[in-house]
């Protein structure tokens, strides 16, 4: 029976104290803290390390509980734990947070050592490349030369792809899920609406709000837009339909009538309790800048050094945020450069959220793919 990793603890890796981290935009960051969690044991030759990377609103807490009375487990607990797809009895699981975030890593809410005040908008604009550059120092710190797998969905998938182009020699296999090699105009459009809603909140105050009220209303709306894009027409019908929320008739007022409204309001408000609005701005910007073909003649050129990596690309039929053509293009490019790439387009009605919800199919797919990598590379685990 699959189990839980139990009580886990968030850890911090502090680096770039003497030599600053140089970012893609040329600015420097020092020192840098990266929050991460690990489960399982690193084997003797340090070859069973799996790096899990999270999506926009995620954090390093991918599985287990932080305390005995913790209400909910980590964000991918369905797939991470003893006997699960990322089996902590066999693999050493690392989940790293991102810089620019607000879940224990250096971000706009951190104190700027120059001023003693929170960075706010003085925090440098970061990229997915910067996030991965920081993570590779963490992997150095953990003493892992080559990761068995790098895996993640959505923005996590972008980091996966960045790992395979920037540090191909550090990665045996890669599993980008429901993601893209370049952010589309539609994705940028949704990001921008989210950001505008934060800018429009008077509490935002150009990012300078850490000693006052934070722009919760703006952030909540941004999150509501996000949630719409993670669902699908079919999943909204299935989950909510036209059901009313705690009332039997229309209220003919502007309170919450429909269940879907209640869901979005609830999700929006809950989000403001754990997420920093400035981090939302920085991270969505990093996603918008994401285009692996940047600096190359074409996308294939970005992957020429990645042909030794074994890929498993996964997409979902109802994901209209990262439609399957993104994954198909990626698979096509990886095939062109001669990489060993497997691709599965999973039938699902859950939209972009499917990567966390199609647990049974994902468990089979991930377990079997990892078994293959373990046997082909003769990993002792």
């Amino acid at each position: 029976m699959p189990g839980s990793v139990g009580i886990v603890k968030r850890q911090s890796f502090i680096f770039a104290e003497k030599t600053p981290l140089v970012l893609d935009n040329g600015e420097k960051l020092s020192p840098v803290t990266l929050a991460y969690e690990t489960y399982g044991r690193l084997n003797e030759d340090r070859s069973n390390g799996i790096l899990i990377l999270h999506a926009l609103s995620g954090d390093a807490h991918v599985a287990g509980y932080h305390s005995p009375d913790d209400q909910s487990p980590g964000w991918w607990d369905d797939c991470v734990g003893p006997g699960k797809a990322f089996d902590t009895d066999r693999y050493f699981i690392i989940c790293s947070n991102v810089i620019g975030g607000c879940q224990g890593s250096t971000g706009p809410g951190s104190v700027d050592p120059q001023t003693g005040q929170p960075y706010g908008l003085h925090f440098p604009v970061i990229t997915i490349g910067d996030m991965v550059r920081a993570q590779h120092y963490l992997i150095d710190h953990l003493g892992i030369d080559k990761l068995l797998t790098v895996v993640g969905g959505s923005m996590g998938g972008m980091q996966v792809l960045q790992w395979t182009t920037n540090y191909p020699e550090r990665v045996r296999s890669a599993i980008p899920i429901a993601t893209t090699a370049r952010h589309s105009p539609m994705l940028i459009a949704f990001s921008e609406v989210g950001r505008q809603s934060i800018y429009a909140d008077p509490n935002w105050n150009h990012g300078d709000y850490y000693n006052n009220q934070s722009p919760k209303a703006g952030l909540a709306v941004a999150r509501m837009i996000g949630h719409i894009t993670y669902l699908s027409d079919a999943s909204m019908h299935q989950k909510f339909g036209r059901r009313l929320q705690e009332r039997e008739h229309f209220g003919y007022d502007f309170e919450t009538d429909f269940a879907i409204e209640g869901y979005l309001r609830y999700k929006g408000n809950r989000f403001t309790e754990r997420f920093d609005a400035n981090s939302y701005l920085y991270i969505t910007k990093a996603m918008d800048y994401f285009d692996l073909s940047n600096g190359y003649n074409n996308l294939s050129a970005a992957f020429t050094k990645s042909s030794e990596i074994v890929f498993l690309v996964v997409s979902f039929t109802s994901d209209w945020l990262y439609p399957t053509y993104h994954s198909k293009e990626l698979v096509s490019v990886l095939t062109t450069v001669g990489a060993d790439v497997s691709y599965c387009n999973i039938q699902s009605t859950w939209g972009h959220d499917a990567f966390l919800l199609e647990v049974e199919t994902m468990t089979g797919l991930l377990t079997n793919f990892l078994n293959r990598i373990v046997s082909e590379f003769k990993i002792d685990c």
């Binding site: 074994v310 498993l312 198909k328 698979v331 096509s332 490019v333 095939t335 062109t336 001669g338 060993d340 790439v341 497997s342 691709y343 599965c344 387009n345 999973i346 039938q347 199919t361 089979g364 797919l365 079997n368 793919f369 078994n371 293959r372 046997s375 082909e376």
Partner: protein, 197 residues
């Protein structure tokens, strides 16, 4: 990983593959041929399959598999990047078989094509006697029970090769699981296997 028992026509296809080859199997189903070739001949195998069920089975077997339509993605494989490109029991389901075979010969040194023969005498006789669409002994399924397929005969395939200038290097004919000679093959064979270069 489970060791598959191989369908009889696939055994004949497998015999054409030399150890260590790089093999692309188009419409590879559950990946049993590729698994067999990897285990017994140490080939480097890649598969393409349309159905999710097939793709998941391939991953379960530890086979590299790409989900997709053969009319879309073949252009991604660099010229001559495979020793053999296999199309086994898939040609009746293709919209543009000539295009797919051309692509196979571009991406591979050779193409191996196998299919059930609707020219078999039982098909012909059955059609004449019963006036029902022939069911080939090589793929015994009725017209309404499967995805849309276009029946073809050995004669049809030879015509296609002539028209498209595909050079037939070798031909193997089976009656059930037994090899038979090339005499009246279009009447006698239930399965045909062609090696094209």
């Amino acid at each position: 990983m489970d060791k598959p028992s191989l369908r009889f026509d696939l055994i004949a296809v497998a015999e054409l593959i030399k150890p260590g080859e790089k093999v692309l199997d188009l419409g590879c189903g559950d990946g049993s041929l590729l698994r067999y070739l990897i285990d017994t001949k140490g080939v480097i195998g890649r598969g393409v399959e349309l159905s999710e069920e097939g793709v998941l089975a391939c991953v379960r077997r530890g086979v590299s598999i790409r989900q997709g339509d053969l009319h879309e993605g073949l252009g991604d494989y660099p010229n001559g990047s495979f020793d053999s490109v296999i199309l086994s029991y898939t040609i009746p389901y293709l919209n543009d078989p000539a295009f797919v075979i051309q692509e196979m010969l571009r991406a591979g040194q050779r193409a191996i094509v196998s299919f059930p023969n609707w020219g078999h005498w039982q098909c012909r006789l059955g059609f004449l006697r019963n006036g029902r669409m022939p069911v080939t002994p090589g793929l015994p399924q009725s017209w309404d029970s499967t995805p849309r397929a276009r029946p073809l005969t050995i004669g049809d395939f030879e015509d296609l090769c002539k028209k498209c200038k595909f050079h037939i290097n070798r031909e193997i004919y089976l009656l059930g699981s037994h090899r038979i000679s090339t005499r009246y093959q279009n009447l006698r064979a239930t399965t045909a296997i062609f090696e094209l270069i």
